[in-house]
Amino acid sequence: MSERKNGMLAITGGRVIDPSQGIDRVADVLIKDGKIESIARAGSAPDGYQKIDAGGRVVAPGFVDLHTHLREPGLEYKETLATGTAAAARGGFTTVCAMPNTEPAQDTASIIEYVARRARESGVVRVLPIGAVTMGRHGKQLTEMAEMAAAGAIGFSDDGDPVADPNMMRQALSYSSSLGLPIINHCQEPGLTRGAQMHEGVVSSNLGLAGWPAEAEASMVARDIALAELTGGRLHIAHLSTAAAVDLVRAAKARGARVTAEVTPHHLTLTDTWVYGLKGAERRSAVGLASYDTNTKVNPPLRAASDVDALVAALGEGVIDFVATDHAPHSESEKACTYVEAANGISNLETAFASVVSLFHAGRLSMPQVIERMSTAPGKFLALGKRHGEEARFGLFGTLKPGHPADVVVLDLNAEWVVDPARFVSKGKNTPLAGVTLKGRVVTTVFGGSVVWQGGASA
């Protein structure tokens, strides 16, 4: 797919939205030597540039995903760095951060280096590894965070599981504060979610599935905020899913705590009623044959409509800083089973933009906000990650400022398409959106000046 490594590329005539520069106007984006050359007046692109016509489309910085399960090493049957980054490119993501719940876990500098090297060899877009907080993600012993940081880790997380022990979390936040890197916690009190299958509410009551109370998230978010304030560490809350936790984050930010939060496309758009398998339609009188749709099983679970509403509002306000996919590919057999047996997770990269842009179509977010939350904000978040007095470790991502990596995405906001997981390039076909019509599509993805995804007319 990529052909012009050092060529000159002009993306012409699109509505260029770059919140990092406050740009929202029709313009040409000129790219040279893998970097943004300039944002030029529309129609001014000189000869000699390969041209991509973006007329009627939105041109924006490539998306940045802080939360991607790429599964390599060890779980290549679910996804590889090659297939996961191809899916990222197709979804408009030019930077993805690899979660460390691989086998073995990414808990030493050598594994971080391995992932970074494998990604350079086989990946389609940029992969930044995240290191584990504790050895083996077992919650007992801190990892060598400084060495992992030097090897390229952009933060630390035991994601998939919380750092359950409060003292371990305190030590992690405290220790990592010297590195300037965040502890990304999957906040969920394990004692309250034992055996849980879905959000606790009327749907779980009806289906007889063990419930996952919203309070299990809120209680650990409250704990972690207190510990961040105690230690001065950087706390980043993964996949926030409840209104109660939103309120805690809002209050903490108002106090000036160093806390940030992300939200997934599915928690912004789907509710627990999706477990009925009706793709969001109203449940009629009975639990139907399509119910217990294992593709809706995800951790944290799909929540109530009131939670979804609070998450969307918080993303708009900036209480939630950005969108992260929690792309969690699984093999077919891990979902072709009972709901209780099914693995948690949604293959998300290829539908994320369309899900988020539905909030624009619904009037809940402006387009600049959509781009800010998918590109600019996570890019800035990454740029914060450096030791005191240290040079920035990499250029800014999620921007179209001249001199920065030419990571650009061309978007058709109005194209309607039906989600067909069989056509996913991700190995994970697990999405509750199968068969659903979405509006909004990634037309072209440019990574470092090279076209890494070009959708066909009907793709």
Binding site: V202, S205, N206, L207, G208, A286, V287, E334, T338, E341
Partner: protein, 335 residues
């Protein structure tokens, strides 16, 4: 049998071919439930004969797969199928041998290849019969899935009450115990309300599902809408026509839902004193197996108001009716 079939053809939605599975009672209409009860009358007559055998389902293959220990339900289905002349094959499998989901799917594929007519299944995971039904052409009958549903139990309970006391309309049914984990309670709340009963439940707050608030009624959004949740067992039983006692499991104590079975018994156990609060002719029911002296006292369990053994006998008749209506349907519709 011909008489039964004739009556059914006149009455039953089941005979239209629209129903393939029995997964819960939430997709049954009242008329369809009444039809099952009517069929069960005919089946009970067959069951009472000296030679308990009819050829109604000769040549049909029914497989029962129980991934969870059960004696009475499995035997009940087996006997029901055999009386009707079907070939009944029992498969028992521990859930642990199918912890990998693929195995359940492979089991289903194997059964599919065997051209069976009906699968009776019990599984510890809620929703598993729905998963199986999506992959199987044969009829699936849910014999209990996790904490979700147990439709044939609810049908036999409805049948037991209606045949002993007449229509459920306006009758008060009290369900006492572990509502949270009870598939029997869930299916009965749905079925009894469809038949016009007023249902009140009571149990420790730790064993009530989300949406069940003591002192209120279940709100919209659940098929149990309108079910009342009593604050005290005495309040629930007061004036009841039916007192249904649920089995309490020791695991609930271990999981922290209960301080002790002793205290449960003191607070929620049904004994003679509490049963006196119900109507004098109230029926005492229990889906079994009972923990005598815990949720139910021995005295009342074997007392004059107890219909627990009746429930077992009726269970065979109800399951005969269900198997017959599902398996013979094709033949009858075609005829």
């Amino acid at each position: 049998m011909a008489r039964v079939a004739e009556r059914s053809r006149q009455q039953s939605a089941l005979w239209s071919g629209a129903r393939r599975h029995v997964l819960d009672l939430d997709d049954f209409t009242r008329a369809e439930i009444e039809d099952v009860l009517l069929n069960a009358d005919g089946m009970k007559e067959v069951f009472g004969r000296e030679v308990k055998k009819t050829p109604a389902l000769r040549g049909k293959t029914i497989i029962t797969v129980f991934f969870e220990a059960s004696t009475r339900t499995r035997v009940s289905f087996e006997q029901a199928g055999k009386i009707l002349g079907a070939d009944v094959i029992n498969v028992t499998s521990s859930a642990s041998s199918v912890t990998k989901g693929e195995s359940l799917l492979n089991t289903v594929r194997t059964l599919q290849a065997m051209q069976i007519d009906a699968l009776v299944m019990r599984h510890p995971h809620s929703g598993s019969p729905y998963f199986v039904a999506r992959h199987l052409d044969a009829s699936v009958i849910n014999a209990g899935d996790g904490t979700h549903a147990h439709p044939t139990q609810a049908l036999l309970d409805i049948y037991t009450v209606e045949r002993l006391r007449g229509k459920l309309d306006g009758k008060r049914v009290a369900i006492i115990g572990d509502i949270l984990y009870s598939r029997v309670a869930r299916s009965n709340m749905i079925g009894m309300q469809k038949m016009g009963a007023e249902v009140v439940v009571c149990g420790p707050p730790t064993l009530l599902p989300a949406g069940f608030v003591p002192g209120s009624s279940v709100a919209e959004g659940l098929p149990y809408e309108g079910v009342r949740i009593a604050r005290r067992v005495e309040e629930a039983v007061d004036g009841a026509d039916v007192v249904m006692v649920l089995r309490i499991q020791r695991e609930r104590q271990d999981a922290g839902h209960l301080p002790s079975l002793r205290e449960y018994s003191r607070e929620y156990g049904i004994n003679a004193e509490r049963l006196k609060l119900a109507r004098p002719d109230a029926l005492l029911m229990h889906p079994g197996p009972m923990n005598e002296g815990v949720e139910i006292s021995t005295e009342v369990a074997h007392g004059p108001q107890s219909v627990i053994e009746e429930q077992v006998a009726n269970g065979v008749a109800i399951r005969m009716a269900i198997l017959y209506m599902l398996c013979a349907r094709a033949a009858n519709v075609g005829a």
